[in-house]
């Protein structure tokens, strides 16, 4: 663990320099501990794959003091396993009219689209980071068989709810956005919902399972087929 300067009022804690499930569990455990302090002088606590950024009140802590405080707090960090993390099911319609890249991902892997769907939906994914757009959760790891790089030319518009993969990561677009990920399907699940007090049902501590549904079911849930 290493604590470095980020800005006049922020430090960044690096837990490792490689992405792995174990390193992510370290981040999540430390994040949980930091949140549990409920310390108003820790203004922002922002976890990512291997790091946590902390913005603090400089009228309470100077740089040396925050470093000592964090080192002390995290030196015997107990890394929790994933059993305490909430599993969230997301219904996905993997139809070719919404999964624009389904066929291409299948051809590339030399398997059927049905197999791509089965592979993508049979795994439980961990959230490694949230960003890019509000509620955009980077989940991993996608099975090696269907790993697909980003599109060379990003699309101008990826519709809200699109479920997509890029390299070994998968995500759901929380709103319409330009993007270069390969789209496999679509969901009506809201990742950024202003009616929720927490704004998003997903946090870095969530685990995600995609559940294939029929076109009828998707439409019944209010799904939109058009792009």
């Amino acid at each position: 663990m290493q604590i470095k300067l980020a800005s006049v009022d922020s430090v960044i804690i690096y837990f490792s320099n490689t992405i792995s499930k174990q390193n992510s569990l370290k981040v999540k455990s430390a994040y949980k501990l930091l949140k549990s302090l409920d310390d108003k002088d820790l203004i922002e606590i922002v976890p990512s794959y291997t790091s946590i950024l902390i913005t603090y009140d400089i009228f309470t802590y100077n740089f040396e003091q925050i470093k000592i405080f964090l080192n002390e707090l995290l030196k015997d960090l107990k890394v929790e396993d994933e059993s305490s993390q909430e599993l969230i099911n997301i219904d996905v319609y993997y139809g070719e009219e919404v999964g624009l890249d389904l066929q291409r991902v299948a051809s590339r892997a030399d398997i059927s689209t049905q197999e791509v769907i089965k592979i993508h939906s049979s795994k439980i994914y961990d959230v490694f980071a949230i960003g890019f757009l509000p509620g955009f959760a980077y989940m991993a790891a996608v099975e090696e068989k269907i790993i697909t790089p980003r599109l060379e030319t990003p699309r101008r518009k990826i519709p809200k709810g699109s479920v997509a993969i890029a390299d070994n990561q998968t995500a759901v677009y929380p709103q319409n956005s330009p993007g270069g990920w390969n789209i496999l399907g679509k969901t009506t699940f809201e990742l950024f919902d202003k009616s929720l007090e927490a704004l998003s049902p997903i946090t870095i501590e969530s685990r995600i399972k995609f559940n294939p549904i029929s076109k009828d079911e998707f439409l019944k849930q209010g799904g939109i087929l058009e792009f």
């Binding site: 980020a6 980071a129 890019f132 509000p134 950024f192």
Partner: protein, 303 residues
């Protein structure tokens, strides 16, 4: 009791000090770009520091009052009128029912702030009035102020006679020095690259908005191609592959994967917020203890 917006201007947004505590979900902080000017306006009106305020980027803006209050305008050098009568910026003025307030033309700088006594009565979203259009959060329904919008305030008839000291009104110079705290991936920049960075003059390009300010000038190289995405703070200086620095500002993305050489002291980001395209900037190193002293002094001025 409100202002009716007669002319909204092309990009006038409601802001405050920003939205905190949702960054872990990808929600940016947003907030006023130039805290010096905004906090000065609140202090002049004897408002709480986090009171909301209009950030005006293009004139003309015209508001019609239907109740008494006091207001003041700070920030970029501009012409302010009450009913066609020219008034001083950086000074509190009383207005009465029927008065028309106009920000006619911005002469120097980029952003004008207009505050009223006790702020506008507009519901906060997730702890803040700050408008972030890409997130549809804050302001009035998540977008910029439009013609015919209503900006409610509580009637106020206090006599507030305050004026910012002439010597403390910022002058917007042709060249700006930005003090930088070496941070994040600074070790991935060699001694030579750092020297280049601190000894060169950069130019503000047209890629300058509430999210970021892209500079052009001497190329800086990191030994890293990219990094594992991590959270980025206000003022951090990303060096993408083209070697041209990008300073991240109030509406920055919350995480990013470019190496960063350092972070501009926030006080200097507030000055940067008032610079126009083609302004020259230079970087100067500052150590963390001095930087924190400066920032504490800065906020104490407005306490």
């Amino acid at each position: 009791m409100s202002f009716k917006v007669i002319k909204a201007g092309i990009f006038t947004t409601l802001q405050d000090r920003g939205r905190f505590g949702f960054t872990h979900l990808g929600v940016t902080n947003s907030g006023v770009m130039d805290e010096y000017s905004a906090l000065a306006a609140q202090k002049l009106l004897d408002n709480a520091q986090d009171t909301n305020i209009l950030e005006i980027t293009f004139a003309p803006v015209e508001l019609k009052a239907d109740a008494n209050t006091s207001f003041c305008v700070t920030g970029a050098l501009c012409e302010v009128f009450i009913n066609e009568q020219l008034k001083n910026s950086w000074q509190v003025h009383k207005i009465q029912k029927g008065d028309v307030v106009k920000v006619q033309i911005i002469l120097e700088g980029q952003r004008v702030y207009l505050a009223v006594k006790n702020g506008f009565d507009i519901a906060k979203e997730f702890g803040s009035n700050s408008t972030t259009i890409k997130e549809s959060l804050g302001g009035i329904s998540g977008i910029q102020i439009k013609n015919a919008d209503i900006l409610p305030y509580k009637q106020n008839s206090e006599d507030i006679i305050n004026r910012w000291h002439e010597n403390h009104i910022p002058k917007y110079e042709k060249e700006l020095v930005l003090r930088v705290i070496l941070s994040y991936q600074e070790e991935s920049f060699s001694k030579e690259e750092k020297e280049k960075f601190f000894n060169s003059t950069y130019t503000i390009t047209q890629d300058f908005n509430r999210m970021a300010c892209k500079l052009s000038g001497e190329k800086i190289l990191s030994s890293l191609d990219g990094i594992i995405s991590e959270a980025i703070t206000f003022g951090s200086i990303q060096i993408p592959k083209d070697g041209q620095p990008i300073i991240l500002l109030k509406e920055r993305q919350t995480i990013g994967g470019y190496p960063k050489i350092g972070t501009v002291l926030s006080i200097d980001c507030f000055k940067l917020a008032q610079m126009r395209i083609d302004t020259k900037v230079r970087f100067e190193p500052i150590d963390i203890n001095t930087a924190q002293d400066k920032l504490r002094d800065f906020y104490s001025t407005f306490a």
